[in-house]
């Protein structure tokens, strides 16, 4: 995967997990300092590789595979930052350096780095570091009774998002499927209350199996 692609996935991931919604083309363009048409072109390529889905009016949304790839890069970045601050004791430029190195660091080197740093859970600015082997899926694919953590909600519907936000379906919230009907709605335990969600709503919530 080339540098450019990884940056796109990372930027989309950051927007999605911050706002709990799909990323707009203009937002990506602004973040990556490129033009709207070049974003559209790249998004089409990513779509072909099944990393994102794109709707003209809805925006760009990562697939489970896309989330995985994005988290891989973010993990490299954050481990590098921990390394800079904790081991090398440099603060200045550490972000920019990590940003360049995240694309070239091999998976194996990443794991070794993680081992050496004793599996840090958060990076210096307090953001959680994604775990190495995490299973990412849509909430509707989660087996019953298994615990999971919300990554983000990718719905394009504003009122649904608002309701989900206030019920506690925010990034890092812990959820568990209590019961489900075949291809039908699910009952989910979140924040100590049981919420029934339609299958269409669940398909727009990405979770990490715990």
């Amino acid at each position: 995967m080339n540098t450019n692609k990884e940056d796109y996935l990372k930027a989309t991931y950051k927007i999605q997990s911050r706002y709990n919604r799909a990323a707009r083309v203009s937002e990506l363009a602004e973040r990556l300092h490129v033009s709207n048409p070049s974003v559209s072109e790249m998004v089409r390529r990513l779509e072909k590789e099944d990393l994102v889905t794109f709707e003209r009016f809805g925006g760009v949304s990562l697939t489970a595979l896309g989330i995985k790839e994005a988290r891989k890069v973010i993990r490299k970045h954050q481990l590098l930052e921990v390394f800079f601050s904790r081991v090398l004791k440099i603060k200045k430029d550490s972000h920019d350096q990590a940003h360049l190195m995240e694309h070239v660091l091999s998976d194996k080197a990443t794991d070794k780095l993680d081992e050496m740093l004793k599996n840090p859970k958060v990076c210096p600015d307090g953001n959680p570091i994604p775990e190495k082997s995490s299973e990412i899926m849509e909430l509707c694919d989660l087996p019953v009774k298994v615990r999971a953590e919300v990554i983000f909600v990718a719905t394009k519907n504003k009122s649904a998002l608002e309701r989900l936000n206030s019920l506690g379906f925010v990034p890092q919230a812990k959820v568990r499927i209590v019961r489900r009907l075949n291809k039908g709605p699910l009952i989910i335990d979140v924040k100590g209350s049981e919420i029934a969600l339609g299958p269409d709503v669940c398909a727009e919530i990405f979770v990490e199996k715990k």
Partner: protein
Amino acid sequence: MKRKPKFSREIYKHDFGGNVCGAEIALVGNPNTGKSCLFNQLTTLDAIVSNYAGTTVDIFEGKTMFGEKIMNVADLPGIYNLGAASEDERVARDYIVEKKPKVIVNVVDATILERNLYLTLQLLELKVPMIVALNFYEELEDKGITIDYQALSMLLGVPVVPIDALRGAGIPELVKTIEAAMQGNVRFEHYQVKYGEQVEGGGPQDTQIARMRHGEAALLAQKVMVRAKAKKSFKDFLDRFTTEPFTGTLSLVVVMSVIFASLFTVGNYLSGLVGKWFDFFVGNPLAPVISAVPTLFLKTIISWGLQGINAGLQIVLPYILVFYLMLGALEDTGYLPRMAYLLDRLMHRMHLHGNAIIPMMLGFGCSVPAVLATRILPNRRDRILTSVLICMIPCSARTAVILGATGKFLGLGCALLIYSIVLILIFAVGYILGKLLPGESTGLIMEMPEYRLPHLSNVWKKTWIRVKDFIWIAFPMIVIGSSLLGVLKAYGLLAMIARPFAPVVEGWLMLPAVAGITLIYGILRKEMALELLFVLGGSASLLKFMTPQQIFTFTLVVALYFPCAGTLAVLKHEFGWKKSLLIASFTVVLAVLAGGIVARI
């Protein structure tokens, strides 16, 4: 501990744009936390209390005595945040923001403390004097939870009072605290969530803010709550049983069958009993009196008015009473949201979601509150579509017609056939209209409440509130309508009124001319069509002047045509004239078409 009502039992619906003054005390909280129950305790008024999110969809204001002062108390629809994810949430938010209540009583479900604190933290940001009422405090024990409410009060910087709104425990303490707050004797140090600089851009519903507020809520809950292992209870078993695919469907069928079977048997039994009593105590003793009345005009008015009362008591009241008793009990258990869950997939066929089931179930009682209840739906498209279907659902008045006409004279089988035809039509209309109506529909997002035992006095109270409406509004109409009909008939004017409708009524629907006239009355209230049919036909048996097929056609038409005047008014209030008239004409066309076809089979 009942506070004596010192005022007329006035309860007025708050209409935005109207000039009802803002209340001093507003009850705010998540859906289904017992705000209406507390409201009833504080004001001795009768707001309807049930066990599902969205029982209250409008603002109710009532008065109460605090010491020597009269206070306005407002009961708001439940909200998860100060947002506008649905119409009922918008109503509540606008009230808090625009009317600025002097004291907010934040009703919190102690069993779901963490989630409830999310709204509490948001309300604290308003810096209005606030008191947290910890409801369902007595249920904590069963769940193995203990909450240190004094510590919570210290952390939040506002008073916290544990209460049991249903049984009234803790209410005196709450009232004292409210009084102290009103007099400025409480020091408030509203706890504020520090969002820091990480938050960039976005409105109040920004995920970043939501996330931090949820984080704070979790921390606060952790600090004051100790959770032991909960014992497995019968409630859990029942919850499981009624939501697993097979047993859930089975229990759904059983619940619905029990409702309709008892409507038919108990309703019929009561109906016969009331008829006998009426003849014995009123009809027979008065007969000589009436025949002694000198003028034809007066005689007609009295005797027809009396027959109207008889018809209302005998034909309609028993069915309405029985239905509302059962609906009330069902609402209290918390079963309705489970129905929504089970039927979500079926509702998808109609391009709706399970949440539309609750207003539709209420529609079996009366269309007016049912149309209002569509406010719990997240968008206008779903609301309109559901309202159209509600207009077709046999409400208790129509059920009375179906059971009192077809059921009584043609048998239960035929009554069930009418139900099936109506339900199939509802499904077909939903299927077609769902495809035609533009707009994307939001999926099911609904809280499953804890199962609770129905509280008998509450069920009875609710039934009374609902039946009272029927008695006060419907009976005068029946009496006046019936007398008027008698006068028209006595002076030979009936045929004249019936003539313009003859082509449709007699020609197309093949009904007797008298039936056409009662159908006009049915526009006011559905059950009047049948009541007046008995009166006009001059016999307690429809079979004396109608063929079985005519009874069947008549019943089907009554069940489908025109939402009654009350429903039309509420449709207009919610969606405007254009849409409501469109819905009304649609049902008329549908009824005439269906009736004409049935008349020819």
